[in-house]
């Protein structure tokens, strides 16, 4: 299924009919496998909260996203693709570093990063690319600082990460990119072991020394955090800015009131409306389970379509296909649901709450420098977004 032509923010139009008439259906995946597609808000939540659905990609029935994603995640698993209790054990090693208070304490530093990067961005020629000139530098600098990865290396890890996340990267190429980034991170961890600092790498090394984690697991975890921490939020920065520019009344409303509560609410609505995790959350049944009146058998794959769920009128009221920054959308499923819900969501929220108002205040005349129809959208990537977004101000 593909997005409707000319509507870059909307999920496939088929979802509307499926939600109404066939809330659970069969879909054929890229590799010819058949999986169940679940499209309603309530059903998606039920699937994702149910431990009888596994995130283990080594299960032959798992509905994987692409050859590249499949092979690297099977070879180098992280808690993303583990089930409890292993999942919980690994995840809890990191929850301290991403808890609300700690991330809130970073807000002034994030503001400073954003201010400085905007100084650099606006000093350059116009038109300029908002993605590589601003969105990626913001998120890369923040996650690098939090983890303890030198920001100077961002071009390197962004390139490798891009290869890993693209739906068009083949298995061999993905494994090579993975090996390259693991080698880099391995060297970095060695240096941190000699010179600890108040960062996530040093914290994980403490856990490793206490016997809680192998070096291999540590590096896989770090790799996940580094990639997930910059690619996702960078997509939200560019795509969210585009959505605001395409909805002038909403843009004006946000410019008129940038109080923290209004901005926080606007960020939730943008997260819902754009649902950059647009290929659904994927699971495989560990036993026979009934969902939406159909029996899913043990070993069968399920695509829980959170982008469809986020446009379900049962959950978000009339006009779920409209961007309405005053909507109450806190219960959206963009970060997933259940025990695998995004670990980094507090960080993503603070980054977006800082970025949008700062961008609108500093560049009040910001506008697109190319027709929307010519913009390169990441339709085949794990996360939806823009490869580039030329702007003027």
């Amino acid at each position: 299924m593909s997005r409707p032509p000319g509507c870059p923010f909307d999920p496939p139009a088929e979802f509307r009919d499926l939600r109404a008439d066939e809330p659970i259906s069969r879909v054929r995946l890229w590799d010819g496998k058949i999986a169940w597609l679940v499209t309603r808000f309530d059903d998606v939540r039920e699937v994702l909260a149910d431990p009888r659905f596994s995130a283990d990609m080594t299960n032959p029935g798992f509905p994987s996203h692409s050859a590249g994603v499949s092979v690297t995640r099977q070879k180098h698993p992280t808690f993303l693709n583990m089930d409890d209790p292993e999942h919980a054990r690994h995840r809890r090693m990191l929850t301290r570093d991403f808890m609300i208070k700690r991330v809130e304490a970073l807000r002034p530093r994030i503001q400073r990063h954003v201010d400085e990067l905007l100084d650099e961005f606006t000093a350059g020629p116009q038109p300029a690319d908002l993605v590589t000139g601003f969105a990626l530098p913001v998120t890369s600098s923040v996650i690098s600082e939090l983890l303890g990865v030198p920001y100077e290396d961002h071009e390197f890890f962004q390139r490798q990460s891009g290869l890993l996340i693209s739906g068009e990267t083949g298995a061999d190429e993905a494994l090579e990119a993975f090996a390259t980034i693991r080698e880099y991170l391995g060297g970095l961890v060695e240096r941190k072991a000699a010179e600890p600092a108040p960062d996530v790498i040093s914290h994980l090394l403490e856990i490793e020394r206490a016997g809680g984690l192998s070096r291999d697991e540590l590096i896989n975890m770090l790799n996940l955090l580094l990639r997930a921490g910059h690619e996702t939020t960078a997509n939200m920065i560019a795509l969210g800015t585009l959505a605001l520019l395409q909805n002038p009344a909403q843009l004006a409303a946000l410019k008129a009131d940038t109080s923290p509560a209004v901005v926080a609410n606007a960020v939730e609505e943008l997260l819902r409306y754009l649902t950059i995790t647009h290929y659904g959350r994927r699971r495989v049944a560990l036993e026979d389970v009934e969902v939406a009146g159909r029996l899913i058998r043990k070993g069968e794959g399920v695509v829980a379509a959170n982008d469809s769920a986020n446009r379900d009128p049962e959950a978000f009221g009339d006009n779920p296909d409209e961007l309405d920054l005053s909507r109450s959308a806190r219960h959206h499923l963009t970060f997933g649901y259940g025990v695998h819900q995004c670990l980094g969501q507090p960080l993503a929220r603070v980054e977006l709450q800082v970025v949008y108002p700062t961008l609108l205040r500093r560049l009040p005349d910001l506008r697109l420098a190319a027709p929307v129809s010519e913009l390169p959208f990441k339709t085949k990537n794990v996360f939806y977004g823009l490869f580039a977004m030329p702007v003027e101000w």
Binding site: T95, R96, F98, H331, V339, R349
Partner: protein, 67 residues
């Protein structure tokens, strides 16, 4: 209205804290939920209901004062 939490289930997403930091808090060492109060002040009831609904780990349980 009373509220209970199951720390074993909690994944430290912090959504409850964002909704009501008068009722919910996170442990310093791992971000797992702790309750500040068991009796929900009436001003926080809506927020706590939302927290129960939104909690991804379904670790929050509400009981009415009468029941």
């Amino acid at each position: 209205m009373k509220v209970e939490v199951e720390a074993d289930k909690c994944i430290a997403s912090g959504q409850c804290v964002l909704l009501s930091d008068a009722v919910f808090d996170q442990r310093e060492d791992d971000g797992i939920v702790v309750l500040r109060v068991n009796d929900v002040p009436s001003s926080e009831e809506d927020a706590v209901r939302s927290a129960e609904r939104i909690c991804p780990a379904r670790a929050i349980r509400l009981t009415t004062s009468g029941g």
